[in-house]
């Protein structure tokens, strides 16, 4: 190491070796080089080993015919004509559909329980407390197996299906319901729905303005319900009376083994959905409770002295302020739910991990490619969810003045 000569004249100059900036740059460069080198080594090593073991590599396998069937497919899929790439899409969609529906129900249930935990009613408070403590302290995998084997398993065999009326049947193969078949004059109904949505939005804006100007309140909820649901139903009835039939139903009927026709919801899907929703809702409830408690008591008291009822206080004063505390941890719960959906593999629901990391990996043997794709997918879904939730968070965040 060099040391600067002591006898050197002023100004006293330090060696660049002791300059914190130079050192910082040096160590960071070193780290980057080491990391890149490690990746390079790992990648070349893997490629070399694959080549030596004569294992096929690359992503060409996605074009090959899959040759196996999947129980729940949202796109057209058949063992004969579809590729591994399409099997991947089937698995991905199954993951997305269970996650999306799960997030909606978990949010609703979580908010209800979170609010119930702060109820002034002793019974409601304790029941929701027991729910939260029970559900979040038992591993999710056990809960899934419980729902699948203990709750849905003992349902009756197809020949003794439970008839629920209106073409709904329940048995150990799932829930069967009539499948709607749309006729060509369905556009009349669609128009009615569109008119209902636009009309209710317009009424809402008008009612807001009225309230701002005059203080009068209008029943926005009821009118919206009437326009969005009531109008299409009324139009449908009129059409039916007039003899036109925009929707007919394919009813499930008894076949040799099982009910045939109609729509079928698999028990695997139901078990996974119930498991994910009830488990995640317990965590969301705690997030919501923390958020509400973070709003100072003075806010509720002030709202009360203005004459707002408890429900209004919660909806108009407390929840909007609580949201800024709730949203960031809520996002993590959404991500957890999505990632936990991969436990589907234990109960035979064909999600991405089950189809792609299970069957496709095994039939093609291309472990590295399949694992990389699957990790990339979960990463993308998670980053997208966070991105959307961050935008929402910015909207509800407190505005500093």
């Amino acid at each position: 190491m060099q040391t600067p000569s002591v006898s050197q004249a002023s100004p006293p100059k330090r060696s660049f070796l002791y300059d914190p900036n130079v050192r910082g740059i040096f160590y960071q460069t070193l780290l980057v080089v080491v990391v890149i080198y490690l990746f390079y080594m790992a990648a070349t090593n893997a490629i070399e080993n694959l080549r030596r073991a004569k294992i096929a590599s690359g992503f060409g396998f996605l074009e090959n015919t899959a040759g196996f069937d999947i129980s729940q497919t949202l796109i057209t899929y058949s063992a004969a004509g579809s590729t591994y790439g399409e099997a991947f899409v089937v698995g991905l969609l199954n993951t997305l559909v269970v996650s999306a529906i799960g997030i909606v129900f978990a949010t609703i249930l979580g908010f209800l329980i979170g609010i119930a935990r702060l109820s002034s009613n002793w019974m409601v408070r304790k029941v929701s407390m027991v729910y939260v403590e029970l559900l979040r302290n038992i591993p999710l995998l056990l809960q899934l197996l419980f729902w699948y084997i203990a709750v849905l398993g003992p349902l009756p065999q197809p020949r003794n299906s439970v008839e629920m009326g209106a073409g709904f049947f329940l048995n150990s193969r799932g829930l069967f319901m009539p499948r709607p078949i749309y006729a060509s004059d369905i556009w009349v109904l669609l128009t009615a729905i569109a008119v209902g949505v636009v009309g209710s939005l317009a009424f809402r804006t008008w009612a807001r303005r009225q309230q701002a100007q005059t203080g009068r309140q209008y029943p926005v909820g009821l009118v919206t319900l009437g326009l969005v649901l009531g109008l299409p139903v009324a139009v449908w009835l009129v059409l039916a009376v007039a003899g036109a039939n925009p929707i007919s139903f394919d009813m499930p009927r008894k076949g040799t083994f099982n009910l045939q026709g109609g729509m079928q919801i698999l028990p695997e899907f139901v078990a996974l959905l119930i498991g994910l929703v009830t488990y995640t809702a317990a965590f969301i409830a705690e997030v919501v409770r923390a958020g509400i408690l973070a709003v100072s008591k003075g806010q509720s008291e002030a709202a009360g002295s203005l004459g707002l009822r408890p429900g209004q206080t919660l909806r108009l004063v407390v929840i909007p302020q609580a949201m800024r505390v709730i949203v960031p941890p809520l996002t993590s719960q959404y991500l957890n739910l999505t990632k936990n959906s991969s436990l589907a593999v234990a109960i035979g629901y064909p999600d991405l991990v089950q189809v792609f990391m299970g069957t496709v990996l095994n039939q093609t043997g291309q472990a590295i490619e399949v694992v990389v794709i699957t990790m990339g997918v979960y990463l993308t879904i998670s980053l997208l969810t966070s991105f959307v939730m961050n935008i929402y968070n910015r909207r509800v965040a407190i505005v500093e003045r």
Binding site: L38, F39, A42, A43, N45, A46, I47, N49, L50, R52, A53, K54, I55, A56, G67, F68, D69, I70, S71, A79, A80, I149, G153, P154, Q157, S172, R173, G255, T256, F257, N258, Q260, P267, E268, V345, A346, G348, P350, Q354, G358, T359, L361, N362, Q363, T364, G365, Q366, A367, I368, V371, V372, M375, G376, L379, T380, L383
Partner: protein
């Protein structure tokens, strides 16, 4: 960010893969370790299943024990690693196991794309169906519209799709990761039929809550040559696997058994002399000792003995030799001559 994480993942997977696949001389590493790691079934009666004391038993298990006997003269020097169907080939590729004796079907794509070798076939099988008696079904052709439980990542899953397509029938597949989950789902009534290799059907039926309520349908819809698998590229190790099986077959053909192997050493029959290493140096040529076959037969017995004990008349499965009889008795098992 995403790219970085993907490459981390890639790197980790790669370095995991690196440890095993680079091991060229499996025999040396096995000798160094002092034991053999054998990928086995998670539990299939007759082929690979731990008994009440935790000792592994079965035809595939005895194959691994035979290899350990040939290498170490000690059939207990095996470590069994139970593997689900969907994990088995990855475990073999990555070097987690030295040999995979787990009733796996030899196919072209598994040899060419997965980088595996199936040096020997120790059980000729075919896929069948099991249903409940009360369904009143007597043929697989009557299964139109049925839901069928199967294990994912198997040839079974593919044959099933082929069979129903070829016969223009509809079905609903319910696939599970392990044979345990699959059979439990069938037994609990989730499916009308359960499908796997015929030998597996008989084995699993024993585990049903009421075995007599189920029947195996007569159709065999595929060819399932089951055998031990090794990684491509280590031919010496492949030879050991191959000739462990061949030695057991030749022993049966020549009448050498567990009981008489020591007396047979004095036999004048040149074929027996070559098998038992009293003539020639066949064992040394594959990196073993010349009495390698004696060790196998002394500890395990010949193929017929192992078959009868695990899946044949001496077992609960009571499967007939059928295709697995020696070629001299009308079967497909044909031992390559040792010379």
């Amino acid at each position: 960010m995403k790219k970085a994480l993907v490459s981390i993942a890639f790197g980790l997977t790669a370095s995991l893969l690196a440890t095993g696949a680079s091991a060229q001389a499996t025999l040396n590493s096995v000798k160094q370790k002092g034991f053999l790691t054998c990928g086995s079934n998670t539990g299939l009666a007759g082929f690979g299943v731990p008994d009440a004391q935790g000792n592994w038993t079965g035809l595939d298990v005895e194959f691994c024990r035979a290899m350990a006997a040939a290498i170490f003269d000690d059939p207990t020097k095996v470590r069994f690693i139970p593997l689900a169907a969907k994990d088995r080939f990855t475990a073999l590729q990555s070097g987690e196991v030295d040999v995979l004796a787990r009733n796996s079907t030899a196919t072209m794509s598994r040899e060419t794309q997965l980088g595996l070798d199936f040096p020997a076939i120790n059980y000729y099988d075919g896929q069948g169906f099991m249903v409940r008696k009360k369904l009143g079904v007597s043929s697989a052709k009557e299964l139109n519209g049925a839901s069928i439980c199967t294990q994912q990542g198997t040839t079974t899953e593919l044959n099933l799709a082929d069979y129903f397509r070829a016969n223009n029938m509809k079905y609903e597949v319910v696939a599970f990761a392990t044979s345990d989950e699959t059979f439990k789902a069938y037994d609990s009534g989730r499916c009308d039929a359960f499908t796997t290799d015929a030998s597996g059907l008989y084995a699993e039926r024993l585990r049903a809550s009421a075995p007599d309520d189920h029947i195996v349908l007569p159709e065999i819809i595929s060819k399932e040559p089951l055998g031990p698998a090794v990684r491509h590229g280590d031919n010496q190790w492949g030879d050991i696997v191959k000739f462990t099986h061949m030695a057991m077959l030749n022993a049966e053909e020549l009448g050498v058994t567990k009981a008489n192997v020591e007396q047979m050493k004095t036999s004048d029959n040149p074929e027996i002399k070559r098998l038992l290493g009293t003539e020639g140096k066949f064992g040394e040529a594959v990196g073993l000792t010349n009495d390698w076959a004696v060790r196998i037969i002394k500890h395990i017995g010949n193929y017929g003995e192992s078959f009868e004990r695990n899946v044949g008349e001496g077992s609960r499965l009571k499967i007939k030799r059928g295709q697995n009889a020696l070629w001299t008795k009308g079967g497909l098992q044909y031992g390559i001559p040792i010379r």
